[in-house]
């Protein structure tokens, strides 16, 4: 005959807990050992969120997607593949206007630099609308082209006047810079740059030290 005690009743629940927890932990360890996820985000080491839209490149507007430019088989340290320097900017932002000549010069310098291995670097400006709805500011593709031409820049500009990419990237202000590795991983983000490191310094530090072997 069973003795009915609190100990017996607690024992049933404890036994069940042990069984369930053991199975849960075993399953969790299996997942931890067999997968290596990289979550999408806008911080360093995250996988870059998508950037999509019309891009002004070679004097025409065409469809463009960052995802299409990536090589997900690329491994960190490999001296091949295309890096992307992404600048989120606004054509009416004073800081962006001030930075435009430097971005132009850096682009020209980097295009002229012989990068280790078979690496390439692309600059892409994403033109967002910080003051959307303000009648005193005319956000249009024509004005994006004018800004680009007036700055003497030749790299492509993306029309993000509906702020769709800005919202996905949660851009706090402009200009904001990101360096994207060939596999889509963010390796530099200006909002969290340590010691005030610029994107160009980060490019020097990262791209120029890839393993050529």
């Amino acid at each position: 005959m069973h003795e009915i005690t609190d100990c017996n009743e607690a024992g049933a629940r404890t036994d069940a807990t042990m069984v369930v927890m053991s199975i849960f932990i075993a399953a969790f360890m299996l997942i931890a050992w067999t997968t290596d996820p990289v979550y999408q985000g806008v911080s360093v080491d995250d996988r870059a969120p998508p950037i999509e839209g019309k891009i002004f490149k070679n004097n025409v507007w065409m469809e463009w997607s960052l995802e299409d430019q990536l090589d997900e088989t690329w491994i960190s340290g490999s001296a091949y593949g295309t890096w992307h320097m992404i600048e989120f900017m606004d054509i009416y932002c004073g800081h962006c206007q001030s930075a435009a000549p430097e971005v132009r010069d850096q682009y020209n310098n980097w295009r002229a630099t012989d990068l280790p291995g078979e690496q390439e670097i692309e600059f892409v400006a994403v033109s967002i609308a910080l003051w959307q709805g303000d009648p005193s500011r005319d956000y249009s593709r024509e004005n994006i082209e004018s800004f680009r031409n007036d700055s003497g820049q030749t790299f492509p500009y993306i029309d993000d006047l509906d702020n769709s990419n800005r919202d996905v990237w949660a851009i706090p202000g402009t200009p904001t810079y990101f360096l994207i590795a060939p596999n889509g991983q963010i390796v530099y983000a200006s909002p969290e740059a340590a010691g005030g490191e610029t994107v160009y310094e980060a490019m020097n530090r990262i791209i120029m030290t890839q393993d050529v072997a």
């Binding site: 009915i4 036994d15 399953a27 299996l30 067999t34 997968t35 290596d36 996820p37 596999n183």
Partner: protein
């Protein structure tokens, strides 16, 4: 030989299908061979609990698989898993960042499923181990609350699948297991105060009848001391 996604899914359906059979009227005949090992299977209550444990096990393993696919899809260089051209395409659902995590908590749905099935399994395993305990009623009520609450989540995810235009066979399997589990709790709730409930645990049968204790503190009785007389 490499199994494709649908063939792998069948492995999760094995415990679920066995559980459903055990819970159904067919379970009586099916459990004949199991009675020597699990005497409690002679009762519908024992078969229901045994079936629910199997169903929750299937729900748990399919949730683990879903989380694994979710994580794999987030690996650099990861390919498509269980993608398909037809309506059944779990890759399009689990790989869809707009719908593949729980709002607010941002947890992948596979992990939420793992936790939910663990809790449900814990509720029902403890009932199976001690069906006459004072907390059995509470466990059944918790199971019902989780079961009905889960229906809201299933409705939300079904809406997500409608928005995406694809159905995830892995998610649907987990939803099926959840609904069957809810039906199990409804059945347990309907028989707990009847003679159908029986008294022994799933592993013991009814060989040693016990009376369900009432709630609350039972004061110890002091044995009479003969020396006082």
């Amino acid at each position: 030989m490499e199994l494709d996604a649908n063939q792998q899914l069948m492995l999760h359906w094995i415990p679920i299908a066995l559980g459903v059979l055990l819970m159904s009227p067919m379970g009586k005949g099916m459990s004949q061979s199991l009675r020597s090992m699990f005497p409690g299977m002679e009762h519908q209550r024992g078969r229901t609990i045994g079936g629910m444990i199997l169903v929750f096990l299937g729900g748990f393993t399919v949730s683990v698989h879903t989380l694994w696919i979710h994580n794999k899809s987030k690996e650099m260089g990861a390919g498509n898993f269980c993608s398909g051209d037809g309506i059944w395409d779990c890759s399009s659902v689990i790989g869809n960042d707009a719908w593949n995590t729980m709002p607010v908590t941002n947890l992948p749905w596979g992990l939420v499923g793992m936790m939910a099935f663990c809790i449900l399994a814990w509720l029902v395993i403890s009932i199976g181990k001690d069906p006459t305990a004072t907390w059995v009623n509470d466990h059944i009520k918790y199971g019902l609350v989780l079961g009905y609450g889960g229906l809201l989540i299933i409705a939300y995810l079904a809406y997500g699948e409608y928005q995406i235009g694809k159905l995830c066979q892995y998610c649907t399997t987990a939803h099926f297991a959840h609904v069957v589990g809810l039906l199990g709790f409804i059945h347990l709730n309907s028989v707990i105060d009847t003679s159908e409930w029986g008294t022994g645990s799933v592993g013991e049968g009814d060989a040693e009848p016990r009376i369900r204790r009432k709630r609350g503190y039972v004061a110890p009785t002091i044995a009479k001391d003969d020396s006082e007389e």
